[in-house]
């Protein structure tokens, strides 16, 4: 193992240990609350990246799946009369499945379009779902919202802990899936679509099936995270879960960390979400919060359009080249090069 590998391994183990033991290290609810949301966005950004990063299809409508997952769980709990506690967590995969079904429908239509049109169609679908949640008053309670049962016997410092581990588990699941896709032939096909879809089709990549599969996987993960979120906040209404800001936040985190990389979304979420919560906490009362958020947003995109991870990787590679020009991990290097290649510019 070379030195970077060792550093990476140590960093990973360290991060894992901190993530696992966090409720013991910092048990106060204020901290674990931030941890729940950060783990949530690690999962969301990673899941979004499976579609947006690998295939280059930018979806701004992933909040549709988030909201559907949230509403699914809320309705399941209400209709099945499930007692609060650990039970509701078992229904989270069902919410994921429903989100996946919705994604098959949306994807089937939206993926007929490319590039800019796809972006717009996903936004339109998100607002369509929000409108449905508002209009189907008999099912969803409309604008009045929907309450979820909350576990009364979890209290004090412990209250956030089960939610934190649920979010962490989903984030790890998303990372595992993303990692697996990245190394599979399927993942290679997705990257080929990103680089040049027509050529990919010409060499035999089943582009439509691949795109749809990536879209559905990404949506299912987002749906499950949305379900846990609903259970955590215990009250949802249409604009709150079908929230364009949630949809754009995961995108921004991926861009900040590095589009199409495995670790980029994690880095982006770890940096941005705590900051975002701080902003909201300090300036939430006034709309200045939005102004600050948009300023961060602009600085990230205009100064670092490729994201932190690819930029850092380049920096390291440049430092090393003079000393160690040789066979240091050639395989991973070509992979890295293909990951960091910017999308085909117009």
């Amino acid at each position: 193992m070379n030195r970077t590998g060792a550093v990476k391994a140590i960093a990973l183990v360290g991060l894992a240990v901190v993530a696992l033991l966090l409720p013991l290290i910092a048990p106060d609810p204020a901290t674990t609350n931030i941890a729940v949301f950060t783990a949530m966005y690690v999962g969301l950004a990673t899941a979004w990246n499976i579609m947006g990063g690998y295939t280059g299809y930018i979806s701004l409508g992933h909040a549709a799946f988030f909201g559907l997952g949230a509403y699914s769980l809320a309705l399941l709990l209400a209709h099945l009369n499930i007692a609060p506690g650990y039970g509701p967590f078992l229904l989270v995969p069902v919410a994921g499945l429903l989100a996946a079904l919705l994604a098959v429908g949306i994807g089937w239509i939206a993926l007929r379009t490319r590039a800019a049109t796809f972006v717009i169609v996903t936004i339109a679908f998100m607002f369509m779902c929000q409108l449905l949640a508002e209009n189907l008053v008999k099912v969803t309670g409309g604008g009045g919202g929907l309450g979820l049962p909350y576990p009364r016997d979890w209290s004090g410092d412990f209250y956030n802990t089960p939610y934190y581990y649920a979010m962490l588990l989903l984030a790890v699941l998303a990372l595992g899936v993303s990692w697996w896709i990245r190394r599979s032939k399927f993942g290679l096909g997705l990257l080929a679509i990103r680089d040049d879809e027509d050529k990919a089709l010409a060499v035999g990549v089943p582009t439509r099936a691949f795109k749809l599969t990536a879209f559905v996987i990404s949506a299912a993960l987002v749906g499950m995270i949305g379900a846990v979120y609903a259970y955590y906040v215990t009250f949802i209404y249409p604009q709150f879960v079908f929230d364009p800001l949630i949809g754009i936040s995961m995108v921004l985190m991926v861009f900040l960390g590095g589009l199409g990389t495995l670790s980029g979304p994690v880095v982006g979420a770890l940096l941005l979400e705590p900051a975002q919560l701080q902003f909201a906490y300090r300036f939430g009362a006034s709309k200045l919060y939005l102004v600050l958020y948009s300023a961060v947003f602009l600085v990230v995109i205009l100064l670092m359009p490729r994201g932190i991870v690819p930029s850092a990787r380049d920096l390291i590679a440049r430092r090393r080249r003079p000393r160690a020009a040789g066979p240091t991990g050639t395989v991973t290097d070509t992979r890295a090069a293909s990951i960091t290649r910017p999308l085909a510019s117009p």
């Binding site: 280059g56 930018i58 701004l60 239509i109 939206a110 007929r112 379009t113 490319r114 590039a115 800019a116 049109t117 972006v119 717009i120 169609v121 936004i123 339109a124 679908f125 607002f127 369509m128 409108l131 449905l132 508002e134 209009n135 040049d196 879809e197 027509d198 050529k199 364009p244 800001l245 754009i248 995108v251 921004l252 861009f255 006034s286 709309k287 200045l288 919060y289 939005l290 102004v291 600050l292 958020y293 948009s294 300023a295 947003f297 602009l298 995109i301 205009l302 359009p305 910017p342 999308l343 085909a344 510019s345 117009p346």
Partner: protein, 291 residues
């Protein structure tokens, strides 16, 4: 039946505003290949500027355009130079994010200055109406429609009868080729963005007189405008105008025949229908990446 007809007339009259706003959006797309997600926020900003002038100086909302349109034009040029021009690679995706950030920034500033309360622009024509063939039509819709028609006409004159318009259309057709024959595409882009933003200001006034609005209104607006330009075919002015009229007529008829809560939903249903049959939109060309 007469109710449906009345809804159709109202749809055409309000469709004019959407046609104007959507033309600005599709013009920006056509020239720069970027999606201006902040267009809705710029419309609302235009409405608020007129509202501020109207409240402090008691100028008629329509007359405030003399001040707001040039101001918004200048703002548009600045925004293009500061936010859009620096994007070199992957413009389509990055521009969405940048303009989204711009929208959030505008929403934040407006919320800070004007609070989240709903406001409305007012004039005598807002409630006064006249009767024609037994239909009662409020003056404001007619004035708004005429204003939009005039500005759209001016836009077409500029695009099809001036040298600058030729440069704009050349850039829309093929950016590289336009550059080769000596078109300063950077300048054209900045000015086109300015024009798009100026039309947003005009749209904002009409929108503000016919609707109550608050800083968050841009989400609803932009989802409609984006749907319209996708329907019309991205980058097609004619398509945007036709789609806007079509959508608003169908929306208003849905409101009468079915229920107002489903009116906006009709919008999206049409979008889905059109995408299944014709993914490139009414007047669009199929997107193929250049090899």
């Amino acid at each position: 039946m007469s109710l449906v007809l009345e809804a159709a007339i109202l749809g055409i009259l309000t469709g004019g505003v959407y046609a104007l706003m959507a033309s600005g959006l599709t013009l920006i797309f056509g020239v720069m290949r970027i999606i201006n997600v902040g267009h809705g926020a710029l419309v609302i900003l235009g409405a608020y500027l007129s509202f501020a002038l109207f409240r402090s100086l008691h100028i008629d909302p329509f007359l405030t355009l003399v001040i707001t349109m040039p101001a918004m034009f200048a703002l548009g040029v600045v925004l293009q130079v500061v936010l859009i021009r620096p994007l070199k690679t992957d413009r389509e995706a990055l521009s969405v994010l940048v303009t989204y950030a711009m929208a959030l920034g505008i929403e934040g500033v407006l919320g800070y200055v004007f609070t989240a309360n709903y406001v409305e622009l007012r004039g005598w024509y807002e409630t006064a109406s006249f009767a024609i063939f037994g239909f009662h039509i409020t003056y404001v819709y007619v004035f708004g429609f005429l204003l939009c028609l005039a500005i759209l006409g001016a836009l077409f004159l500029v695009l099809y009868r001036t040298a600058f318009g030729g440069a704009v259309r050349a850039t829309m057709l093929n950016r590289t080729a336009a550059q080769l024959i000596g078109v300063d595409v950077d300048r054209v882009s900045a000015l086109a963005f300015g024009i798009g933003v100026a039309t947003a200001a005009a749209g904002g006034v009409v929108f503000g007189i016919t609707n109550a609005f608050n800083p968050g209104s841009h989400y609803d607006l932009i989802s409609r405008l984006l749907t319209i330009i996708v329907l019309g075919g991205l980058g097609s002015l004619r398509g945007a105008i036709l789609a806007a009229l079509l959508m608003l007529v169908i929306e208003d008829i849905t409101a009468v025949v079915i229920s107002p809560v489903w009116a906006s939903f009709a919008f999206f249903v049409i979008l889905v229908g059109v995408l299944i049959v014709r993914p490139q939109g009414l007047y669009g060309v199929r997107v193929r990446e250049r090899i």
